[in-house]
């Protein structure tokens, strides 16, 4: 494989402003929706992450828009209901603020705002949710509404209460009237159901009762330190379970206040700069603080019953301010996530702090933001509202080996087009057709189509807009061209699948292409989700389509959703271009769209046959054997049809952009081309299905994930894409994630462990599962080996009674969560652990050890950690078939140090000067 190493894509990382877990603690027997982490960024994006037992997956991104930022996020949980003996789990609802006067509730399924509420008050700076009614409280007053209200603190000193009752969202009352005198409310938190604690900019923490809006107490922090501003800003307040209030302020101290008397109990100086964020664990035995000095500090209580806290340790996990933190315990996890302007969320072990590694999650989206048109040598990337297109020229004489792109003269690439999308919404997806003549860009509000004309002599590109049908005004989640360039598939916000036929695509004429007015709408199988699941928790969020793939002959379409379902569709019939293009059939379009909307609510009724239309004699229908494909244990992150191997020698095909021409279709029959679909899930399980048969391919059957190399099973990073290499009879697939590139040879089987049946893995699996429960990490980076522990205490202790070594016993418990590791309240919520091939005993994926080729000439797998962080790998050339090099790809890296973070208050080593005061 010919690799170009690229670092010129200026993808801007966006500051993490807010982090929120949908639950802070899930008990063993608690009925709750599976937890999600919402990350709010300064560019207005909200990312939804699924912790899934430590295999963090960024599931979806709710795209923001221009001048929109997410400054605060909060989840609420509607109370559970009992209907016909079944518990309907209360809905998880996500609210955000963005330095405006409104609070927005989000529709997670559609990725759009659901409701907004605002009132006559200043800009909202902070928001907090009322704690849910506990069982004992519920027993005390059975009539009370058990839901969670929201309190918002405003810059004009107002505190506003919003109600979330009755699946609605509205302003309930203004608790504290805004006034010019009042200081800004910077942080707010509920101490219990009725008492709210607000940290202000005037060195005061104010306590209010929401029942009557009366001030309970004002706690002042005194005046600021000498030489600094007089007023102390209380950046963050949190309460512990016993009511103790913890505050972090601009003096770099955290202060611990008595929850009953509202008096200062202790102050701990642990930061050299402002404390910006605080987090606690659920039972109130640990406090974490993050500050402007980049430190993350852990506090633990000292001595039993003394109510004194002490800093236990601190570290610098971030390269910039630690702006926000959130903690989660449950389901085997015990983890703290922190974020800041360095854009990468960092997961820190909570219960096992110091005994497990931290882990930085990538700062760019799971979906690769890079596309290419290999025939033209075009590479495209997008972010926010911009699309950049580069023309990568072939190296006339590729003497240099891999990765030497930096040494190449800059003429190797040229930015040929920079497109700024009109409107406010950020781009959700973009696609290039294989010829590089069409660009489709989708936002939440519309889909745009551009014609690209590359002038090779001058190396410039002309971009012109193509008119699109009015149905495209609703926006889309995903867009993709088929490999033959004839079809444009769009996935709409409500996960509708729409296929449009491009009329003049593929022709070199300068005439503007247009879209066939008739569109095929495909609907997925009804997966028989029970009503009570749909109504509660996250609703039908997990049916959100995230992946989409065409087969190389463009006759099979596969889509997958978060829940792990795969739907496949086939194109039947002969292409008959003689059929007339009907005039814009607005009636049909509108009716179909309305009906499909109603579909989506009831989740795809079985009317699709009447809806699909025959276009040029061809018709998209559901694959008859689609039902045979099973639900996967975790969300697929890569769908890729294997390109047909019986192609012309240079017809090396790509995963996402195969470049093969349409073979002769057989009328009214299923396509006969290559139908093998490779699926990689977020937990790095690799399957290959024969879609038309609805079964696993022979290779996949022979090679279950348990046979994959140990090194691969140990990696933590989610797979982000793949590249096929089928040149010269090879059957190789190159899989990449943020930190590694891995090659598997699909023509070979992995060596099977002796004495274990390949298929009958029942017993072996069970024993493995039991073992894993013990040394599994709690959601962060994996267990630190004994000899590298830096916490001043070992895991084990030796017991000696008068010269006789008696025994060794554990000193450090595994996290308390582990007891309930394998029991999950919701079957669907977490992946089936028996299929989790992950073994996080080691930090294998973290050490950059480039591993050379193994001894034998043709290994069945190979990997490298040389490239990181990989933003994407795309095919940019056909590859020199003669030389046997295989496809020519560009590995796009985006190192964080090149990303250019905003300026810091505190430099690298300033503490040296200040330290002793010399």
């Amino acid at each position: 494989m010919d690799i170009h190493r690229c670092r010129f894509v200026p993808f801007p990382p966006s500051t993490i402003n807010a982090l929120a877990f949908s639950h802070s603690r899930i008990f063993k027997d608690q009925k709750a929706a599976s937890p999600r982490l919402a990350i709010g960024r300064a560019n207005g994006d909200i990312e939804l992450w699924n912790p899934q037992g430590g295999a963090w997956l960024q599931e979806t991104i709710i795209r923001g828009g221009k001048d929109r930022s997410i400054d605060g996020l909060v989840w609420t949980q509607d109370p559970n209901e009992e209907v016909e003996g079944k518990t309907i789990i209360g809905k998880s609802r996500l609210f955000s603020i963005g330095f405006t006067t409104t609070v927005t509730e989000w529709d997670l399924t559609k990725g759009r705002p659901l409701r907004q509420a605002s009132g006559n008050h200043g800009e909202i700076w902070c928001i907090a949710a009322q704690p849910p009614l506990s069982k004992s409280e519920k027993a005390a007053n059975p009539g009370q509404w058990a839901g969670q209200r929201l309190i918002a603190g405003c810059t004009d000193g107002a505190l506003v209460l919003y109600s979330t009752e009755d699946e609605d969202f509205q302003l309930q009352r203004i608790l504290v009237r805004p006034s010019a005198k009042k200081a800004k409310v910077i942080s707010v938190v509920f101490q219990n159901r009725n008492i709210v604690v607000a940290g202000c900019t005037d060195s005061t923490i104010r306590i209010y009762d929401i029942r009557n809006g009366s001030t309970v107490r004002n706690m002042t922090l005194g005046s600021g330190p000498k030489g600094g501003p007089k007023e102390i800003i209380v950046w963050s307040v949190k309460t512990l379970r016993d009511g103790t209030i913890v505050s972090g302020d601009s003096t770099g101290e955290i202060k611990i206040w008595d929850g009953k008397l509202y008096t200062l109990r202790q102050r701990i100086r642990s930061h050299q700069q402002d404390v910006l964020s605080l987090a606690t664990n659920f039972d109130g035995t640990a406090i974490f603080s993050g500050g402007m000095d980049r430190r993350t500090v852990v506090y633990k209580p000292v001595g039993k019953g003394k109510n004194r806290w002490a800093e236990v340790a601190h570290r610098r996990f971030h390269s910039h301010d630690v702006k926000t933190m959130a903690s989660f315990e449950g389901g085997g996890l015990s983890v703290l996530v922190s974020g800041g302007p360095d854009a990468a969320p960092i997961t820190i072990p909570l219960g096992q702090y110091g005994f497990e590694y931290q882990r930085a999650l990538p700062f760019f989206p799971q979906e690769t933001l890079i596309r290419s048109a290999p025939k033209q040598g075009l590479m495209m990337s997008w972010w926010d509202r911009e699309v950049h297109i580069w023309h990568i020229r072939k190296d006339p004489d590729p003497i240099e080996d891999e990765e030497d792109i930096e040494n190449k003269p800059p003429e190797g690439r040229k930015l040929v087009a920079k497109i700024l999308i009109k409107g406010e919404a950020n781009i959700t997806s973009a696609a290039l057709n294989p010829e590089g003549t069409l660009l489709a860009v989708s936002t939440n509000s519309d889909i745009k189509l551009f014609q690209l004309r590359l002038n090779l002599e001058e190396d410039v590109m002309r971009v012109s807009k193509v008119t699109v049908p009015s149905t495209y005004s609703s926006g889309a989640r995903l867009v993709q061209f088929s490999p033959d360039g004839k079809w444009l598939c769009t996935i709409h916000a409500d996960s509708r699948i729409v296929l449009s036929c491009l009329l003049t695509s593929g022709t070199t004429s300068a005439s503007s292409p247009s879209i066939h007015p008739q569109q095929s709408r495909l609907s997925r199988l009804d997966r028989k989700t029970e009503k009570h699941v749909l109504l509660g928790g996250l609703g039908s969020y997990d049916r959100t389509i995230t992946q989409l793939a065409f087969s190389s002959d463009s006759r099979i379409l596969a889509v997958s959703d978060i829940s792990g379902h795969i739907d496949t569709f086939v194109l039947t019939g002969h292409e008959d271009l003689s059929q007339p293009v009907p005039s814009d059939d607005s009636d049909a379009a509108s009716s179909s769209s309305s009906s499909s909307e109603s579909d989506s609510d009831s989740d795809a009724e079985v009317e699709e046959d009447s809806k699909t239309k025959t276009i040029f004699g061809q018709q998209w229908t559901r694959n008859p054997s689609a039902t045979l494909l099973p639900k996967l244990p975790s969300a697929p992150v890569v769908l890729s049809f294997r390109p047909s191997a019986t192609k012309l020698p240079n017809g090396t095909a790509v995963a996402l952009h195969p470049t093969r021409n349409n073979p002769n279709p057989i009328s009214h029959a299923l396509p006969t081309g290559e139908d093998r679909l490779l699926v990689i899930t977020s937990t790095s399980l690799i399957y290959e299905f024969e879609t038309l048969k609805g079964s696993l391919s022979p290779w996949s059957r022979r090679n279950p994930t348990s046979l994959f190399p140990e090194d691969f099973k140990r990696t933590l990073e989610t797979v982000r894409g793949c590249i096929w290499d089928l040149s010269q009879g090879r059957e190789r697939i190159w899989i990449y994630s943020v930190g590694w590139i891995w090659m598997f040879d699909l023509s070979k089987d992995f060596p099977s462990p002796s004495g274990e049946l390949i298929n009958g893995n029942g017993n072996a699996e069970k024993s493995k599962k039991r073992k894993r429960g013990k040394d599994r990490a709690s959601g962060a980076g994996g267990v630190i080996p004994d000899q590298q522990l830096g916490m001043g205490i070992s895991r084990r202790m030796q017991k000696v009674i008068h010269e006789e070594v008696e025994e060794e016993t554990a000193l450090i418990l595994d996290s308390g969560m582990d007891v309930d590791v394998d029991v999950d309240g919701d079957d669907d919520s977490l992946p089936d652990l028996s299929l989790l091939r992950r073994d996080s005993r080691d930090d294998g994926g973290k050490t950059p050890q480039g591993k050379g080729k193994r001894g034998d000439a043709k290994p069945s797998d190979w990997h490298t950690f040389k490239y990181r962080p990989i933003m994407g790998v795309v095919l940019i050339g056909e590859g020199e078939g003669e030389g046997g090099v295989g496809p020519e790809v560009a590995v796009v890296e985006r190192p964080a140090w090149e990303a250019g973070l905003p300026g810091r208050w505190e430099g690298e080593q300033e503490w040296r000067d200040r330290e002793v005061g010399l």
Binding site: I268, G303, G354, G790, G792, E803, I812, L813, V916, L918
Partner: protein, 1013 residues
Amino acid sequence: MASPLKRKRGPVEVLDTPKRSKSVKDQSGNPLRPAGEKAGWGAAFNPPQELVVTTNGVNGNHSHRTSESPEAVDYEAYVQDEKYKDALEQREKSSKNVPQGNNNKTLAKSEEQKAIELWKLSEPIGGRMANADPVFSRDEKFLIVANRKTINVYSTSNSLLTRSIKPNINPEAPRYTRIVAYCLSPTDPNIVWVAFSDGSVFRIDWTIGTGETDYWMISSTDCIHMTVTSMESAGRRRDVVFTTESKKDGGFRITAQELSIETPSESPTRTIYTTPNRMQFLKSAKEGSVIVAASGNRVLVGRLRSTDYDTIANIRYEFRVFESTEAIKCLDVRASNRTESEGLKKSLKKSPIVDVVVGDIRGVLFVHHDLLAKLFSQQADGKLPPGISMVPRKLHWHREVVHTVKWSLDGNYIISGGTETVLVLWQLDTGKQQFLPHMSATIQNVVVSPTGTSYAIQLADNSAMILSTAELEPTANIAGIQASVLESEEPLEAQIQKIEEPSWQPLLVQRTPALINPTDLSKLLLVVGQQQEVSATKPLVMSNPFLQTFDLGSGHNISRQAFTRTSITNIDAAPSAHRISEPRVTHMKISHDGKWLATVDEWTPPAREYDFLKHRSSSLAIEQQHRREVFLKFWQWNHETGLWELVSRIDSPHSLGPDSGDAGRIFALASDPSSLRFSTTGEDGIVRTWTTKTRKRDGVVVRAKDGSAYKNWHCQHAVCLGKPELLDGTGNFPTSGSVAFSEDGSVLAAACDNEDGLLHLLDPDSGVERLSHTGLFEGAIVGMEFLGQDLIVLSNKLFVFDIVSEDFRFAIKLAKSPASLSLNQKQEMMHLAVDQRSRTFAVALPKFSSQPGKPSLWAARSELTVFHHDSPEPQLTEQFPTIVTALLPAISSEGYMVLDTAAEIHTVMKKGSQAVTALAQSTSALELDTVPDEPAGENLLEEEDVEEMEDYLPTPAATQDGVDEDNSEHPVVSQQQLSEIFDIGPSFALPPMEEMFYQVADLFLSKPLAQSV
């Protein structure tokens, strides 16, 4: 398994106090070898065979007035190896006897005895403080600080030495036996327990100074650490001594001993823990119910299983062992009573709250709160109860090893110190730190006084101070000699890999420039550095930018001032983590009137800073040479400030070659004993003479306030030795050289190395070469001094050359081992000094024993030999167990002062003369305080002294008859001898009358008195 320990009686030694200055030196108690042992000097020199014949210096063996090298009296060394010493002695004796016949034999013997009579070595003063926690007396009126082998009691009110107690250790103990720990007995505050590294434990009453003779051997191998606690069981309270030591069969153990003075012969002992790892630290709390020990990176916490034991032999402990992160350097325990005990197991309800703080070699402090209860609260199933967090607090401020950490009495603070020279007070509740920066050196030990009102801090520069807790102001300061010392063991932090600093290869100990102020004879000036410990296996190139003035009379530090640029920074490291190097003062001389001081310092930028020039220049050393800085500085004494003031600084007084602009090293600096004149020679082979010039501005003399004219120093003349074209042609610069003024300042002898040993005699006034003579040295010239009309030159041969008659008086060839040393080793470790008054000169030579394995300075020692200028037969030969770093004449009396790597000053003097250092006595010895109450025990001891002395007196007694026959009946006391007693200083500095009486009486009565005292 109790093995009874027997208390042993050490060899009795009469302390060499002025009171008994005549007493015969004890053979075994003294670390130094007694004089007269021929083996020693034979090892350093090839002793001349026909010594008797050559007494007048006109030896037929060498030719007169030739430029050729004289026939050195050569005596083929028998052995260079130590293990053949015995054989050597025997053979030497026999060989001496055989050729000389009977007459010669007796004569030689009498000569030899005479030498023994004439010279002796005084008890050392000064010394290095042992790296162990100092001890406060319970009333905080005294602070006990131990030296290598002595216990010194200082008064906290006036910082004066109150009492010095020297335990008599086993004579067979290894050379480097030292105090490893000492603790105040919790039962009896007058008792201090002292543990030596050879495994002996002393119980000393520090208030009266008894107990120094008896000891227990707790281990036949060694002792690493000790702690003492008071335990009560079976209605008996006793001191229990816990020690950690290595076992004979490998491995290490902790033992508990009850060392009782009532039953000294039967002391129950019990091993309570054994481990294959070395245990470097031991501490007990709460009357022995809790023991905490450190072994590598492991922490041991033990608790007493039952207080119901009758003897120590039945004591039982239960231990919990866990690992910390890095090797543990220091540890402290604080036990307090438990007030709340909910949620604890029944067995732990009454256990104390044990807070432990651990400091490791990477500078991290770990604070374990309530460690004991947590470790022992394990449930039956082996699991810890929920809610217990074992994770300690991590306090990381120190960049490098934490040398010491202590809890404050109330437990709210911990106090730590390390190489940062900052005392850090951690306020545990708030996480705030308080700093006391810029202590003069690495903080080695901190102790909190019993009432918590003061801290005692021991620093690595051989000083200790007491700080008040409230204001952090010093209330007492004790400083010893800050010259470089050899480390006593490899420090724990050596296992941390650090950036390599330049070190001496082959191994050597740098010389310490030292001199005695001729106007104030009790003032010793020493050039010292900030760090003093020299690594035994990898001695770094040490800088020594400070001048320490030490009062020999009182044994006190007087002042310290900087001589060169000193870069004292908050962090004593450059951004590249290298140590900041400071200049090294290589020479220091004082003018005859004591008002002017000349110093030479040199600084070479570290090679690593010019790594980037590698591509340009072939040799990094040349680039370094370009940037070398050498200064000759002249300092004037200022009476008002009591400091030396810099008057003139001459940059690059010598260049690297005749045409070079780079600064060349200076090999020698000499001071004119008659006028204000100094002379230097350096790498350019030029002798420069420096003298004063009255400072003028516009022709007007610049005067100070008191009307005296200011003076500047300038180069009077420069004389090129040897032929410059020769120097030029070869491009080889001289690598050694020397200059010396004659006693009256009329002749300046100068030489730089050349093949034929060419030495020039110059007229210092005019710079005219008067005489040149070849064959005066062989190999590199190390030192040169005038003794009357004789010129003594130390090189591979020791020449005594009469410049008037141009005759060699005698020449002695160095034995093979000193002669084969490298040039650097010779220049830094060979010493030559002359004493004009006694017409003697002394030579100190290093001696490396050729033990297999890694070379180490621990195997090195020094040998001092004193010669009379008339005789090649040494007057005194002394083997020092340490290495001599400075040798200088004791101007006040006949004799020499020797400074060694134990930071001790020995005085070599004639019998009957009074050493200046003899005054450096404790106040109790001077009996300034209280009525001398002589307990019965002391009398007893002295009687025993006498008895034992008689055992080995016979030999000297016999010789006495032979030589000092008339002395015994009618002692002739010369005026000089008397003046030595009375003229040792100003009247206020004189010893008490009693002392002087004894000294005078000694002169007249000689031996018998010593026996009757």
